[in-house]
Symmetry: C2
Amino acid sequence: MSLGDFLFGKPLASFEDSEQRLGPLAGIGVFGLDALSSAAYGPEAALTLLIPLGALGIQYVVPISTGIIVLLTIVFISYLQTIAAYPGGGGSYTVARENLGPHAALLAAAALIVDYILVVAVGISAGVGALVSAIPSLQPHTLAICLGILVAVTLVNLRGIRETGNVFMVPTYAFILSLLAAIVWGLVKALLSGGHPTPVIPPSPLKGTATVAGAWVLLQAFSSGCTAMTGVEAVSNGVKAFREPAVQSARRTLTAIIGILILMLGGIAWLARLYQVGASDPGEPGYQSVLSQLVAAVSGHGVFYFATMASVVVVLALSANTAFSDFPRLCQIVAGDGYLPHGFTSRGRRLVFSQGIYVLAFLAGLLLFIFNGVTDRLIPLFAVGAFLAFTLSQAGMVVHWKRNGGRGARQSMFINGLGAIATAITLVVVLSAKFLEGAWVTVLLIPSLLILMFAVHRHYNAVGKELELKTPLDLTHLNPPIVVVPIQSWNKIAQKGLRFAINLSTDVYVLQVKIGESEDLRASWCHLVEGPILELGLPVPKLTVVESPYRLLFRPILDFVTGLAGKYPDRYIAVLIPELVEGHWYHYFLHNQRAAVLKGLLLLKGNQRINVVNVPWYLTE
Amino acid sequence: MSLGDFLFGKPLASFEDSEQRLGPLAGIGVFGLDALSSAAYGPEAALTLLIPLGALGIQYVVPISTGIIVLLTIVFISYLQTIAAYPGGGGSYTVARENLGPHAALLAAAALIVDYILVVAVGISAGVGALVSAIPSLQPHTLAICLGILVAVTLVNLRGIRETGNVFMVPTYAFILSLLAAIVWGLVKALLSGGHPTPVIPPSPLKGTATVAGAWVLLQAFSSGCTAMTGVEAVSNGVKAFREPAVQSARRTLTAIIGILILMLGGIAWLARLYQVGASDPGEPGYQSVLSQLVAAVSGHGVFYFATMASVVVVLALSANTAFSDFPRLCQIVAGDGYLPHGFTSRGRRLVFSQGIYVLAFLAGLLLFIFNGVTDRLIPLFAVGAFLAFTLSQAGMVVHWKRNGGRGARQSMFINGLGAIATAITLVVVLSAKFLEGAWVTVLLIPSLLILMFAVHRHYNAVGKELELKTPLDLTHLNPPIVVVPIQSWNKIAQKGLRFAINLSTDVYVLQVKIGESEDLRASWCHLVEGPILELGLPVPKLTVVESPYRLLFRPILDFVTGLAGKYPDRYIAVLIPELVEGHWYHYFLHNQRAAVLKGLLLLKGNQRINVVNVPWYLTE
């Protein structure tokens, strides 16, 4: 087994694609981790903004969560429809492209690309952050652990989507089961105690004392809680990754993900109110996350508590996986339209779009490296991308229904319109609330990416136009090329080159650049070459010897070749370069690398009519 | 003015060589610094071994120095004769090669190569060591200063030998004049005081109390003092660097160097006895070098003292220059005989052998880096190389006189024989005295270098034999090659490649490797290619379409080419690779680099009959 097979698995043939596809069960692990893991930080984000309100704030948890769940449901329905309408995948990008035009589509794509890169860095960093706060001795190794997880997730994803699904199944279901169990346990306890359960371990005391809640605070809490919605678009980007019937499998997966997410969000909100759990300030000593307080209140600090918290940490760290499934697919679709390098469209050995995986891993790794593994400051950034994409996708679906009509089109239009307005408002709130905290970076990044994508498209268009050929092969002006053979002395390599040149053309020029005291080829030319050729009546190669007082080799050759090209404007020139190929790398220093340099220079400084023929000589030694 | 011109000076033509040559005045700065600077440490090295003898030791300074001067004179006479006998340069290597055979010659070369690398590192390090002990605040920057001096010396040497001579003239003569002035001043004072001068500043008290001197101690002191002789061979290696008549110029230069050196050595010894100056232990507080004590005793701590000591520091740091003049010349001569890579024989833009300069700078820099700029521990190593070379050179001259005879041959033989025996004894003494201190490294290094040189020679011999061709051009079996054109789709690049292929041969194979859903060329082949070609009655290119289920591009092409080569064992194959050349480096990521990879793979995996034709397409965009 080769190292490549060991690391990445055996190559998969293109026809094995169908065997690689996912069912809903594995689909949740591949596309759902981003959305599901947000149950761990969405409610916390909302509650953090309610800290100043104290006990009053907790009264608002349930209505705010209800609002989020309603918005989530609208977006969910919209993506269900998107999956059916655009089974080729591409989610927001495809919807926007088909209905709003390429500019809106690229805006959505740029927003999602930025979002995904941030999600990977922030997700891994958040998981590792929770880990090192539980085991402080790991603190100095934060960056190393982050990069280790990044490499592991990258490797798993390079091994193909089915293997990814299998690997991520266990942590995903451990997380879902333990969190749902905690919620059910807490609700049952509350029910048995008549709605007033006694926490096993009491939550942190609430400090705020406000008696009136301002609308702006509630709106901010709502929009912060909306970070729980990121990752909802994931399935719609990857419809093609699902088992046939793909649309049905994808819709089932999305439904399962959103169903579980709603249960979690609603359950956490309800429990927070019942057990009077509020957020505490992460900067203060004795900080505990809302989820940790909740589970401790329900179950105490037993095995269950630690198992649940461990699964939360693992899922946070692995939430990056969703981006690894979606980013390459999104880039592939955008690259297919010519707005990103073509490389994104090639499938690697395991049928995944490897280049996208590499690029994502590199960029996220760079972010982790720059921020030394602590990316808290990036958290405000990534909701912007997601909500921009949501808004464009919803707006696109409105146009879609308007155009296509059909049964229930009016209702769908209404729902998507409502969704578009709601997500647009959320976007504006997030942007204005978090602008100075860092959201401005996204506002710079997305347009830069847009400009880049347009530049790529312009370049490809120009090249495409330049190379396009609809007509059959043009056979006018066929003419053997003028062949130039640079030779330094007479040996078997030179003979091989000259023989090959005579095979190719009747116009052969031999060029010797004389440096220092090397032997002049003119002395023996008649005996070595002219004689035998005249004997056979063949056209004689023309020998030119050039003195090079400054010991330059390449410039005289280039000058000679471009001179010939100028003299014969209707002829092709073939520069024939005899090259010694060393058998061992350590012979590199023993032979000059003139042939390689000359090939490079001719390519760099040449023109349309100068071609290079490389005649290798392999040492038998 | 280009950056290259600014750093290295304008290129020099080969015919400008004679203007670059040196007279004796500049020659002393270029070839003499190593020998002259050793006056600063040779006597000190001898006196250090005499410390245990106290005042008694100082009695032995004059006889020991006399011995060294006698040996120096013998070696000097020998090299004077060498210069006349071998005006091509190469010193010990050439003498040994001509008289003792290639093994002895390579032994001398290896010894000198090791010697020169060490001399550069140790010389710079010693100068910087003296500097930082005078200005301790520079201590933390020792390595940086060392490497800075190394780069400066390298740059000066790359600018050509005449410029080097000019640059080094000032420090050389400042050193010579100030040191000779100190000696004369001291001797005059002693004379005026009737042989018992009062030191202006008394030297360090003598601690040793021995009353009898052992022979082994005296022998060790003698051999340590002999380090003053390193660098004597320098002129003989570089005879060709001197102005015509080169032999005369070189001999004059050598005579001047040795004359000044003898004056210095004798003067220092005499003064040490007159002023009762002994060495002190460098490890102890209040350490002062012998030279510093002497000059202070003669002149006090005035301007003269500081100027003299400054010139000593500068000359120590620049003594590396001799190695920079000699090492590349030695390597060039050895490479010319095929025992080192041919690259050493090419002259750079300023007519010096640049590769030797680069290699020396790199290796010495590596040593400085490894030892962090403090190379005291390397000092015992380098006398070994020098004395090995001396011995071989003297022995070679004995054989030379025996063979050639002539006037005075007997006396010369006697002198050289005496020299050979004396230097051989010194070598043995140095080796045994310093073996454990580090000289064993040299004993390992020199044979390793020898083995390497023999391996290089074997390789060049084998290649030379394989490529040698004495017969005229063989014109049997001329036959146009089979041309293979890999094409992915029909466009102008493909058309250009196909047209060129048709120009070259009547046997053209077009190969399409089908990956994924790309268009099958067979569908349009008849319309695009076959039709127009049949119309003109030309032979039709054969199209092969290969499916590649594992999405590999290169392997199918390589398989096809090697398959053809196997099928037609008497034909050459030319693989014609159309290539898009990007106009800007930042377009690199936008286009696949398949052409470049394929060219590389074909060269690596190909065979004698597979050639590569590169047809570039330059984007006009």
